[in-house]
Symmetry: C2
């Protein structure tokens, strides 16, 4: 990750990444399908966390309460990986192909959360909208957190972003 | 477009598209950089329409009112191209690479609307959130419209989708 941040993604070879990680190139490829995977290997884990949190929310919770809980829990997990998250964000911001992949990741997370809401009996359109709202607030809260020069508080930034989204949607 | 819908995107050659359109293959390439462009050539026009509508909204309008106006106007334009929109949607739904491109298009439209809101003096975070909300409501309203077996009413579906997003965000 440091290598990507120092040199740019395209200029970093798998051999260099493997060396920095203290691995043979072959071992590296056993772990990561390609060098993009270093940046996106956490996506499946994040999706599991979001889906599980949605599934396990109290049955009385409204769709937006369920989604808020999920994205805040995701924020708590990312919060402790700030250096990685920051470097990863800088690498992705500098590379259009990686930005596309990141968009796909976010869309996939939204679909997975919408499906998990439908499993709870939420109707299709409300589930899709709640999931989109959650991902939008997460994304914008994340951007605020990543730009913050202090250690910051990602769960708080996500909550504030959701509050602000609500205010904006209500015409403020 | 009919060819893509009949046969699938990957199975359709440029020569076939050009023939169906009554053009020489060379003429076709003068108009479209590649066959994907047939599906995405309207994006720049749509972006101009959204940005202009945002810029020209009354200065008293709140960010969400401005965005609502923009996506409803876009809906009015698409409404009259229902057959094209429907075929295009089916082609994209069947091809992951095109779905990615469509996600990028939507993200680009959201960024452009957010930038146009900032030009009106809306602060960065509110502009980004209003634009994300607008694109989410547009996307979900569009999906409802495209599935509707009647001629439907896209501007109405987008408005309803925005109303439902507001209700969901407010905890219903």
């Amino acid at each position: 990750m440091e290598l990507y941040a120092d040199r740019g993604f395209d200029q970093t070879t798998v051999a260099e990444i493997a060396e920095r990680a203290g691995l043979a190139e072959r071992t590296f490829f056993r772990h990561f399908a390609d060098k993009r995977e270093v940046l996106f290997s956490g996506a499946a884990e994040l999706q599991d966390l979001l889906v599980t949190t949605v599934a396990e929310a109290p049955s009385s919770a409204t769709p937006i309460e369920v989604i808020t809980r999920a994205v805040v829990v995701a924020g708590e997990v990312l919060q402790v990986r700030r250096d990685f998250a920051r470097q990863r964000h800088a690498v992705i911001a500098a590379n259009p192909e990686l930005q596309e992949r990141e968009l796909i990741k976010l869309a996939t997370l939204a679909s997975a959360m919408a499906a998990a809401l439908r499993q709870r009996g939420v109707k299709e359109q409300s589930a899709a909208l709640a999931a989109e709202v959650g991902v939008a607030a997460f994304k914008i809260g994340f951007e605020r957190w990543i730009k913050d020069s202090d250690a910051g508080d990602l769960p708080r930034d996500i909550r504030e972003s959701l509050d602000e989204l609500r205010a904006v949607a209500n015409g403020q």
